[in-house]
């Protein structure tokens, strides 16, 4: 993890991710917020690549930046009379305080705990060349039950979404 390219990529991508995430909070327009959210997702995908998780990065691009954001766009467009100003509610101060407190606690913990890390050759061994096979084996091996449950969950969500927004023709 000490090649200069990776270090530079980490700082640039984390700036992009955090900056866009802050812009989601600060922007005055809901559509702008969606666009910044997508920028944040893409920065996150880049960070996944620096962690040598290519499959997850591409899946992140496909699912979050490609599908979930479009769903949000549709939801915004289907609620035309609702406010688009991305305004804060009454709980803005507690919300921000809680978020900042959480970030501070996690940051403090992350920096001060002596994590059991791998280093040197073991770390190089973890820079997977091909994660797809491994993930496939893991999903259909030890996590088979969870995998099936996830597929059932997806099917239920699909049907649920259709049933929820279906208009009665009667």
């Amino acid at each position: 993890m000490d090649s200069p390219g990776v270090v530079a990529a980490f700082w640039v991508l984390s700036a992009l991710t955090v900056g866009s995430a802050l812009a989601v909070f600060l922007s005055r327009n809901l559509i702008h917020a969606v666009v910044f959210l997508v920028a944040s997702f893409l920065g996150m995908a880049g960070l996944f690549i620096t962690l040598s998780a290519d499959f997850i990065a591409v899946a992140q691009m496909l699912i979050y930046a490609g599908a979930v954001s479009i769903l949000m766009v549709f939801a915004v467009m289907l609620t035309p009379l609702a406010a688009r100003d991305n305004a804060n509610s009454l709980f803005v101060l507690p919300g921000v305080a809680l978020g900042a407190a959480f970030a501070a606690v996690v940051g403090y913990t992350a920096v001060n705990v002596d994590w059991p890390q791998v280093a040197g050759e073991a770390l190089d061994a973890r820079s997977f060349a091909d994660t797809v096979r491994g993930i496939g084996d893991a999903l259909l091996g030890p996590y088979l039950l969870a995998f099936e449950m996830a597929s059932v969950l997806l099917l239920a969500a699909l049907l649920g979404a259709i049933v929820l927004v279906r208009e009665d023709r009667s």
């Binding site: 559509i31 702008h32 997508v38 591409v58 496909l62 490609g66 599908a67």
Partner: protein, 482 residues
């Protein structure tokens, strides 16, 4: 003689006698021309023989001047750089060279394809197409670009500035990223990812949001309508497009684009006959993703002016136009890579540079796109969505299931590859025909029973339906059967 009859007489004399433009004056034939032509042909033959000898003798293989695969020259250059400099230098240098190559290729393709598309489309519509600027009108795209650059860019009142400026640039990014992942030759891949197939799908899905930004920020009803139609269509067609690639991955056992092409080269087989249903699904869904006729719901000039880029003028519009061409090229390249063997051509790639083979195949697929555009009418929006959700998605899921069963059987069955692959091909061809027919019948489509005896001109409103009604009235006995 009426004007119509005169026109018909002119038509009968063939297209060359159209009274369009000034006929070129007959050039007095130069005497030396034939001699020069013969000499040139001789030189060409000699050069071809020399190339053949050099290729067969194998002195080229692996040398830096083996231009059949530019990746070899690149590898040598990187080796030289690594000897003298830090590895970062060679990395940056090769990245720059590759990026320049891709950019240059895209620019060239955009310039040429605008001309090709307009000329071919004009031929299909029995007209001439651009033929004034330069020889054969070849400089027409340049003239268009200069014209577009000179035009004033108008920003609509009430437009969202930032989101109005960004999309023409943003739509280029997915195009470039897809172009970077294409395998041009065995070692000529800029970005050979292990997850290439998924990467291509994911990256091309990013352009949806740029299109939405363009439509929304224009502050125009038609632009927003076009954008929402585009998003609905692209989201729907992304599903069959990505499911159609699953059989390819199942058969080849690789998700990298280079690996897929290598599998086809090793087995001397293109995947097109093996997976006809997947090919059709991918091809059709791609035309929808590209907003091309027959699926150009997004632009539909006759309905919503120009869709999401209604309010874009000048070079911004030109960028959208260019991206459309470039995306079509990229999809043609993907079809070539996945289904038509990429750079492989049954051993021909030993002789001809593989990237030339690849380019020829891509042009052929692109021609198919133009052909579709010249032939088919536009779908209605509901028809298009119904086709995706009711037809393409179930069929492609079924196809994936069938191919999964086949490939797992083939993996366990100890038999020569020719036999198992041949059986899979035959079965899939039959399965495609049966499944497509059965599913259309299950959805309630019946092929037309009554024969239209001859085309009838009618002045009644309603086009073909009115013509059929008139014909039914004329022949009452056949109407009872319908």
């Amino acid at each position: 003689m009426s004007r119509f009859a005169a026109w018909q007489a002119l038509r009968a004399m063939g297209p060359a006698s159209f009274p369009i433009g000034v006929r070129a004056r007959a050039v007095p034939r130069l005497r030396g021309l034939r001699v020069a032509g013969a000499l040139a042909a001789l030189v060409l033959v000699a050069v071809s023989i020399a190339i053949g000898v050099v290729v067969v003798s194998g002195v080229l293989d692996g040398r830096w001047y083996d231009l059949r695969d530019l990746g070899i020259a690149m590898a040598h250059l990187r080796g030289r750089l690594d000897e003298r400099f830090d590895p970062a230098v060679s990395y940056v240098a090769s990245a720059l060279i590759g990026a320049t190559g891709i950019l240059g290729f895209v620019g060239l393709v955009l310039l040429v394809l605008v001309w090709v598309e307009r000329r071919v489309l004009a031929r299909m519509q029995i007209r001439r197409g651009p033929n004034r600027v330069g020889p054969f009108g070849l400089l027409q795209p340049v003239a268009d670009a200069i014209k577009l650059i000179q035009k004033e860019t108008i920003i609509p009142r009430g437009a969202d500035r930032l989101m109005y400026y960004l999309p023409p640039l943003l739509v280029f990014i997915p195009l470039m990223l897809v172009m970077g992942a294409l395998p041009w030759a065995p070692r000529m891949i800029y970005l050979d990812l292990n997850v290439g197939v998924l990467y291509v799908i994911a990256v091309s899905s990013l352009s949806t949001l740029a299109i939405f930004m363009a439509g929304w920020s224009s502050n125009n009803h038609y632009a927003l309508l076009g954008a929402m139609r585009t998003i609905a269509m692209m989201i729907s067609y992304e599903i069959p497009q990505s499911i159609a690639l699953l059989p390819v991955v199942l058969i080849t056992g690789s998700m990298s684009l280079g690996g897929i092409v290598e599998w086809q080269a090793d087995h001397n087989l293109w995947l097109a006959p093996m997976l006809p249903l997947a090919l059709f699904t991918f091809f059709f869904a791609s035309t929808a993703e590209l907003n091309r006729t027959p699926n150009d719901i997004a632009e539909a000039e006759s309905e919503i002016i120009a869709g999401f880029h209604t309010e874009y003028s000048g070079m911004k519009f030109g960028l959208y136009y260019a991206v459309e061409m470039g995306n079509a090229t990229a999809v043609a390249a993907l079809v070539t890579t996945m289904f038509l063997g990429g750079w492989s051509a049954f051993g021909l790639e030993e002789w001809v540079p593989p990237y030339a083979i690849f380019a020829v195949k891509v042009s052929a697929v692109y021609f198919l796109f133009i052909w579709l555009r010249g032939t088919l009418p536009r779908f209605r929006l509901d028809q298009l969505m119904a086709f995706a959700w009711k037809y393409l998605i179930p069929l492609s899921i079924l196809n994936t299931f069938v191919v999964a069963v086949e490939s797992s059987i083939a993996a366990r069955w100890e038999v020569a590859g020719v036999v198992s692959l041949g059986l899979i091909t035959l079965f899939n061809l039959g399965f495609t025909i049966v499944a497509a027919r059965a599913w259309t019948r299950a959805l309630g489509y019946r092929p037309q029973r009554e024969r239209l005896l001859r085309p009838r001109l009618t002045t009644a409103v309603g086009g073909l339906l009115a013509a059929q009604r008139l014909q039914r009235e004329a022949t009452p006995d056949s109407a009872s059967g319908a």
